[in-house]
Amino acid sequence: MTARSFVSSALRHTALLLIAAFALLPFAVMVSTSIKPADEIFSETLRWWPQKLAVIENYTEAFSAAPLMLYLMNGVVVTAAIFFLQVLVTLPAAYALAKLHFFGRRLAFGFVLFCLLIPYQAIAVPLFILLYYVGLLDSYSALVLPFTISVFGIFLMRQFFMGVPDDLVDAARMDGMSELSIVWRVMLPAAIPALTAFGVFSIVTHWNDYFWPLVAVSSDKYFTPPLGVMAFRNAEAGNDFGPLMAAATIIVAPLLCLFLLAQRRFIEGIAFTGIK
């Protein structure tokens, strides 16, 4: 290695490590605090690894003070239900928009493009009123139903289906498939990469969503993970930091672990859905 390239490489790593420190600092603080006893948390000296480990105390406290497992389960149930229903609704619609000629197709697609511009928070007020009148507020339905229709999913899958060769669809028709079986037997397997990307997008969005669950449910048996941490903080009056950080770690961990295991998939998925 020449001196010049050594210097530039050292500069690159220095700068990147600084940014990495900024990005990772909150995670380090979170984990480090979650394993510290109270007296060390409140001490003025900065120490990453505690002198006396309080892992068991803090995490037991976190689990006993709030039904964290229930919140996690709620998160899993709600995100899984949303994604499953989205796939069920989105794929046939996207296939029709991409490959079938039907009356009103242009109008339907124009509508999809228009709705892409509107963030869901903008229609939260009437959605809330709607659920209030049908008596579905404060239920799993309230958390799931509004997201069963994903114009973003329809748009993304339609764009992907446009690239599937027409020949393949025609071959399936010649082979005797109905249009609906083409969706599930030909388009779905062909769309696995796009569907993975959409899945990553959908799961990350709804696992981390705070606004809608905050509006839609009030009993803590329906709390999703972010609502759970918030409830935990409010109940503990924000002073018992060890267990609070343990709770935050527990809530953040599942998605981060998934991400670390399949980080290529995740990043590609998000990049794929980002550049639409």
Partner: protein
Amino acid sequence: MSLSASQNRAGLALIAPASILAIIFLIAPLSSILVLAFTDYQLGDRSLRFIGFENFQALIDDPVFWKSLSNTLIYSAVVVPGSMLLGLVSALLIDAGTSLRSFYRTAFFMPVMASLLAMAIVWEFMLHPSFGIVNTTAKALGFASHNWLKDGDIALYVLAVIGIWQSFGFNMVLFMAGLSAIPRDLYDAAELDGTPHAWERFKLITWPLLAPVAVFVAITSAIRSFQVFDTVHALTQGGPNKATEVLLYTIYAEGFEFFRSSHAAAITIVFILLVVSVSLLRFVSLKKNGEGA
């Protein structure tokens, strides 16, 4: 049954579930926002009365609304350039070498993945006035300590830093995708043509070819920053003294705490106009690029 008729039927059948759900959960709410904004409806009311532009008149006279709108714009004005610049620098630095690429990429992307609400609580702890890591470090280095989230002059900017922290990794990924689309040959050609400095090559090749991506990233970042809510709700509740009141938080408070639905609808319309007008900038920029090509 003729072919076109059968395709027509299949198409309509396949799109029916999506259409029905869209009518219930998108079209009906969106149109009722437009109606609500011109009524005096409050949640639970049995009837409603059309009152024309009174809600909007009230907004114009309401200093909190103006504070909320200007805070949202200031927040965006900090977060958009901040997260773009940090994202671009990260992408360029990662792309400039071969070692530890995936480590950095993963590290910078972690804040995007983590629940912002949970991480906001971690930030709150880090910013704790007496034993938070920020103040203890500041003190150790000889700087003054602050009550970051309770000081009306800086609270909004503190939230903006959290916003940058959370979103720059996302922008980095978009920029890296853009960079990977630039043919390597161009850099070799530029080097042979006599542009030895990295900065010169950046000006000559990278930036012009990355410009469409940058426009896209700017618009996406802006729209995301208009939707800032989690940190505000968790850390400041719009305070101190409305210093961190932002549009979505105002909508939330009006619509779901005071149940003044029609008033919330009027602010929502302002919010929608803001988001849609920025989104439409994208079409303008696409057109401009299309003409240039």
